[in-house]
């Protein structure tokens, strides 16, 4: 049974275990610094399909099939799937999950979706509403450029603050019992908007949301930066990461020595021309399912705070002159719990 603590956090008395994790990525991610951690690296961005959107659906389907297999389970053992993506009306997820016979909660948190799916999945397990759930998120570079920005063939320049949407799907299975790592706390985020209007600088738009969730997490749980081996945001990128660090410092928490960002880790900005870093739901999802999960099992870190971040805008909202509200969901993951 969980407890609501502080303003917006939840402490799990019986922390759900992350039973298995699977990740599928595109070739650019495979060539990046974390390349060897992913289960499958696609050479063909279409994966043999007719369109980017269909390819992303295949990514979702195959990754979830794999994560269920890795847990030595069958689809019949899974009670619920929590998943989301960036495409209009979540079509990548819905079409990808059509073939599974599992009740589905479609989620939109933009690039924070993995945090949202893991948080809701953990609540569902701890509340006794399911034995096993799948939490997943995906994105596809080409599909996302087509929907949000420009056709791939258009000769435009990207500013240095722009990010590169990750092509990938990352999934985990949460269960009541297991060897860990465990989800011990969650701090779901609020919508935060400090007036940034530039869709080419999403790190700046999202940093305040990340900072707000981090600060509230510490205040709600009574923890401090010393309690964590790693605090890692979803896709603030190099620019947003620095901004978030400053904002968190202003509230009295210095997380610099343990702070990182999945968008910064997944690509090598110097050689892969990704400017501020990786972004998209897939960014935090595959980085967790591939890199963070495996290294926690290797005991590189035993307690991390995973904070996927999302920019809640639509192609039309920025054209209407709106700013970009953002959100960040924190999930505390530990190898042991008392």
């Amino acid at each position: 049974m969980a407890k609501h603590i502080g303003k917006q956090s939840i402490k799990f008395d019986l922390p759900p275990s992350i039973i298995s994790a699977a990740s599928t990525v595109g070739s650019k991610e495979g060539k990046g610094p974390l390349g060897t951690y992913f289960d499958v690296v696609l050479q063909d961005p279409l994966w043999g399909e007719d369109s980017w959107e269909k390819a992303e659906s295949k990514l979702v389907q195959k990754t979830i099939e794999r994560v269920i297999q890795k847990a030595n389970l069958t689809p019949e053992d899974i009670q619920y799937i929590f998943a989301g993506d960036l495409l209009n009306q979540l079509t990548a997820s819905t079409f990808g999950l059509r073939s599974f016979d599992i009740p589905f909660f479609g989620l939109f948190g933009a690039c924070s979706t993995m945090g949202e799916s893991m948080a809701l999945g953990a609540m569902t397990i701890d509340g006794g509403f399911a034995n096993y759930v799948v939490a997943e998120a995906s994105s596809h570079f080409c599909g996302s450029e087509k929907q949000f920005r420009f056709p791939l063939e258009l000769g435009t320049q990207r500013p240095l603050t722009a990010s590169w949407t990750v092509t990938g799907s990352g999934a985990v299975i949460l269960g009541k019992n297991g060897p860990g790592p465990y989800i011990t706390y969650i701090t779901p985020g609020k919508i935060i908007d400090l007036g940034i209007k530039d869709p080419m600088n999403m790190g700046a738009a999202m940093a305040p949301a990340a900072a707000d969730t981090i600060i509230n997490h510490f205040q709600d749980t009574g923890r401090t930066p010393k309690d964590y081996d790693l605090i890692i945001t979803g896709d603030l990128g190099s620019v947003g990461k620095e901004l978030a660090l400053e904002l968190v410092k202003k509230s009295g928490y210095d997380i610099e020595s343990i702070f990182s960002d999945c968008g910064v880790e997944i690509f090598d900005a110097a050689t892969q021309d990704t400017h501020a870093g990786g972004s998209g739901c897939g960014c935090s999802a595959v980085t967790f399912a591939g890199y963070l999960y495996k290294e926690m099992q290797n005991n590189k870190w035993s307690r991390i705070l995973f904070i996927p971040t999302g920019a809640l805008m639509s192609p039309g909202s920025t054209q209407q002159g709106e700013s970009i509200p953002s959100i960040a969901h924190a999930v505390a993951i530990e190898n042991k719990w008392a």
């Binding site: 070739s27 650019k28 961005p45 279409l46 980017w52 570079f141 080409c142 450029e145 056709p151 791939l152 063939e153 435009t156 320049q157 209007k197 530039d198």
Partner: protein, 118 residues
């Protein structure tokens, strides 16, 4: 010699565009609209023709040159047939360019497929 002039004038117009891209938050689409309208307006004020005489393709190839063609066409038709010409002249003068763009873009869409960027 006219090659050097075309190079310089064309280069300068592009640099103005680049400054707008780097220094303002204007997207490329808005900059193109700005340039085409500027070309039309400058020709209306008689200021673009001298640039064309001096820079040749350096003035006609960049997008203000397209605005110049549109405005030039409108003015010439007005001189020929009166007020109606303001409505017919622009498209008349640029019909070849626009038709070519539509036709070739359509054929290209038939032949080529979208490729991922790395």
């Amino acid at each position: 010699m006219d090659y050097v002039k075309a190079f310089i004038i064309g280069g300068i117009i592009c640099v103005i565009g680049q400054i707008l891209i780097d220094k303002t938050k204007l997207m490329s689409g808005r900059i193109l609209v700005l340039f085409v309208v500027l070309g039309a307006v400058l020709h209306g004020m008689g200021l673009y023709e001298p640039l064309v005489k001096f820079g040749g393709a350096g003035a006609t190839v960049p997008l203000p040159g397209f605005g110049y063609s549109l405005a030039k066409g409108a003015i010439e038709e007005v001189d020929k047939i009166g007020l109606k010409g303001a409505f017919t002249g622009g498209l008349k003068a640029t019909s070849a360019g626009i038709t070519a763009a539509v036709l070739f873009a359509f054929i290209a869409a038939l032949i080529f497929n979208s490729k991922a960027k790395e």
